[in-house]
């Protein structure tokens, strides 16, 4: 086997391989480009087969020469069809190329042999003109493409140029017989280069694809690394979309994120008001990709999703590449790249889009985390401001409150002393006193709640009778519509009596507040085992289930407290919990929305004996 045979064998093998590959591709993903590629390489394969059969003398050379000539003359036209799929070729030129091809083929049968030099020149001229045009269009397409597409188009342009060379060299052999050996060598090399060019263009090996993709990915990553950490979602989207557009050579790109509240995809960059990103309902192609979590390349979106055709057309989006932006099981949304013509190598571009979508998922996750951290920080600052404000307000309220309370009590004492007291006068002053006392409790609560976590509440524990505290608290309720019942005999607990009174008072005040219709509130005290407990129960409006988990949070006022017309600072229950827990006790709530609420506080018990001894010891105070 000489060098020439080796070269042609390699070339033929390459062509046959490509034919198999494009045939497989056409079966797997039927598209016009795939069909045209099959036709083109079928013609080439035909030429190779016929030549081989002739060499094996299975066919008469006379017939085969004609058949392979026909196939050869059709090649430029078939190539033009492919180029049209790529970059678009004006209709006139397509028609012209078809005319040239069929004219050449027809002439083979009509023109008398042997062919004149002029005829051969004309046929070769027609071939070179069309194939040369294809080459020019491909070279131009190289300039406007990026990444894998650019690499593959370059290879195809090379293949096409070499095909022209092969024909030109073949023609020269006719006119310059004396250079035939050299020209044959040239022809072989050109054929091989042509085969390799087409091979790389149509079935590039994986490493080559990676190599072509690398710059785009590198550029994207370096852009991503430069993104400021405090970028707004719109800025983030803008940068990322621009980078994606650049990387895949798309016309536009969109990052769509899933809006859980509205149950649809929305543009991360709110500037996009229309186009494939404006997913006004749940049946668009991006939504489908999000649902199925599988990337999708669409050559003709309006045709594939006619229901939203106007949406795609409005944005000049004919072809779409869509990949889910997902990290683990966290689904953020989808990445969409749109173009005004189908992607030449959709599989490659889709692979790149998927890669970029993964990167974007990581970025979004990172920004989500910093967002969450900023949110927590802002919340802590807001809470501190609230604390400081409430604390200052409570301090300022104390002086006038001291005067009001003391003045009212002084008046009451003087009336009693002077004997001039009337029932309604005393009642009125009593009401003043009780409300001032209530206000005192509230300001004390505010100050307690705004104290730092480190400061404890419990001063010192001593045996205290919960029942006595309960009667005391019950006596403080001024509402005429409410009746406070105390149940239980003695129930001694080892507590800071003042603080537990504060807890019980808060719970009873709450019960009054949330039973607007009035009714009975019962405080039930009990000693059991080592524990002493009391419960405060009302038949009020109850607590909605969604509020229950947050009830003991500071400043939590219930999601709908405003609507119900109940005000409050949301610190009473927070304080109760802190005080009870500092005692080593527990506080639980149990509520039926619409029927009432029961709070249960469990504390360390004390014996009645301890209690009485303690009470005697302190009675002198």
């Amino acid at each position: 086997m000489n060098a020439e045979t080796l070269l042609s064998t390699v070339t033929h093998a390459a062509i046959l391989f490509i034919f198999a590959a494009v045939l497989l591709e056409a079966v797997r993903a039927p598209r016009r480009l795939a069909y045209d590629a099959v036709l083109f390489f079928a013609a080439m394969t035909g030429i190779i087969t016929v030549t081989a059969l002739t060499r094996l003398r299975l066919i008469e050379p006379g017939q085969t020469g004609l058949l392979s000539s026909v196939l050869l003359l059709l090649l430029p036209y078939l190539q033009l069809r492919m180029v049209d799929d790529f970059a678009g070729v004006p209709r006139r030129i397509q028609a012209l190329a078809a005319g040239v091809a069929f004219g050449s083929v027809l002439s083979l049968y009509l023109v008398e042999r042997p062919f004149s030099a002029a005829y051969i020149l004309a046929v070769i001229g027609g071939f070179v003109a069309v194939q040369g045009y294809c080459t020019v269009v491909l070279v131009r397409a190289v300039r406007s493409s990026v990444g894998v597409t650019r690499g593959r188009t370059q290879a195809l342009a090379l293949g096409s140029a070499m095909l022209v060379t092969v024909i030109v060299v073949a023609g020269l052999q006719v006119f310059l017989p004396e250079f035939r050996p050299a020209l044959r060598g040239m022809s072989s090399v050109a054929s091989l280069t042509c085969g390799v060019g087409y091979f790389i263009g149509f079935t590039p090996p994986r490493w080559l694809r990676r190599l072509w993709q690398a710059p785009a990915i590198r550029a994207f990553l370096s852009m991503a690394a430069r993104l400021p950490a405090d970028a707004t979602p719109a800025q983030l989207a803008d940068q990322l979309e621009r980078a994606v557009t650049e990387a895949v050579g798309a016309r536009r790109s969109y990052i769509l994120v899933w809006d859980e509240d509205e149950r649809r995809l929305t543009a991360l960059n709110r500037a996009h008001a229309s186009g494939p990103q404006a997913t006004r309902h749940n049946s668009t192609l991006p939504t489908r990709v999000f649902r199925e979590q599988r990337a999708l390349a669409v050559d003709n979106a309006p045709r594939m999703d006619p229901g939203n055709a106007d949406l795609y057309q409005g944005a000049g989006a004919l072809s779409l590449l869509i990949a889910p932006i997902t990290l683990g099981d966290q689904r953020f949304g989808v990445l969409v790249a749109s173009n005004d013509r189908p992607s030449n190598f959709a599989a490659d571009d889709l692979a790149l889009i998927e890669l970029l979508a993964d990167e974007i998922a990581g970025l979004l996750r990172r920004h989500q985390l910093t967002d969450a951290a900023a949110h927590v920080r802002a919340q802590a600052e807001a809470t501190q401001l609230k604390d400081e404000f409430l604390s200052a307000a409570a301090h300022d309220l104390r002086t006038p409150l001291t005067v009001i309370l003391a003045q009212a009590q002084l008046l009451s004492r003087r009336l009693h002393r002077g004997g001039a007291a009337t029932e309604d006068l005393l009642g009125g002053i009593d009401r003043l006193v009780q409300e001032a006392q209530r206000m005192r409790r509230l300001t004390d609560d505010v100050l307690d709640a705004s104290r730092s976590e480190a400061t404890g509440f419990v001063a010192e524990v001593a045996p205290a009778d919960l029942v006595a505290i309960a009667y005391d608290v019950a006596g403080s309720v001024t509402s005429e519509r409410h009746q406070v019942l105390v149940e239980g005999a003695e129930a001694w607990a080892l507590v800071d009596g003042d603080r537990i009174r504060q807890v019980m008072q808060n719970l009873v005040d709450n019960a009054v507040k949330f039973s607007p219709a009035g009714g009975t509130i019962s405080i039930c005290c009990e000693r059991a085992g080592d524990e002493a407990m009391f419960s405060v129960k009302d038949h009020g409006i109850g607590i909605p289930p969604w509020d229950l988990p947050h009830l003991f949070q500071r400043f939590y006022r219930g999601g709908r407290s405003g609507e119900r017309g109940f005000s409050g600072m949301g610190i009473g229950l927070f304080l109760c919990k802190r005080i009870v827990e500092e005692h080593g006790g527990t506080i639980t709530v149990d509520s039926v929305y619409g029927q009432g609420t029961r709070f249960l506080v469990t504390l360390a018990g004390a014996t009645a004996e301890q209690g009485r001894t303690n009470a005697t010891a302190h009675s002198g105070r």
């Binding site: 604390s391 200052a392 301090h395 104390r398 002086t399 409150l401 001291t402 005067v403 009001i404 309370l405 003391a406 003045q407 009590q409 002084l410 004492r413 003087r414 002393r417 001032a436 006392q437 005192r440 004390d444 100050l447 307690d448 001063a459 105070r621």
Partner: protein, 161 residues
């Protein structure tokens, strides 16, 4: 002769009200709007049975007042009258005999004052109280300590209260 009480508070309304409450109970009451005024009242008038002392005042606050009378060897029982949550702590800080949290209930206030006067003992014939006898000893032992503590920890006047 009625017991004399000095009421020290920079808030006029509170001061006057407290004076009225105590006057109703038969005490002879004199008001002062800060520690400095209180100090001169203590030095110019006949002995007092009790000082009702607010802590947060301009010019001279409660801590400075307490340190000053200890310095000058004046012995008089003090009842601290300040924000409810801190009253007890403040009383311990300056060695007061009792405390009243603001806002207070008048009944409890009167009871605290009576308890304080009872426990500090009757004024002696010559105008000195029992505590006058123990003063040199307590001064000897506690004054340097107190001075040290006050100089280090006592808040200056003009706080947030």
């Amino acid at each position: 002769m009625p017991q004399r009480i000095l009421v020290v508070d920079d808030e006029r309304t509170i001061r006057e009200l407290v004076c009225e409450v105590l006057a109703d109970e038969g005490y002879e009451v004199i008001g002062a709007s800060n520690g400095a005024e209180a100090l001169s009242a203590l030095e110019q008038n006949a002995p007092f049975s009790l000082v009702v002392l607010d802590m947060w005042m301009p010019v001279m606050n409660g801590w400075q007042f307490a340190a000053e009378i200890a310095e000058r060897g004046i012995s008089v029982p003090i009842v601290v009258m300040t924000a409810a949550r801190e009253a007890r702590h403040r009383a311990e800080e300056i060695g007061a005999i009792g405390y009243i949290g603001k806002p207070f209930d008048v009944d409890q206030f009167i009871e605290s004052v009576e308890t304080a006067i009872r426990s500090s003992g009757p004024a002696l014939e010559n105008g000195a109280s029992f505590s006058d006898v123990t003063r040199p000893i307590s001064k000897l032992i506690f004054a340097p300590l107190r001075h040290l503590a006050l100089g280090t920890f006592a808040p200056r006047s003009g706080g947030a209260y």
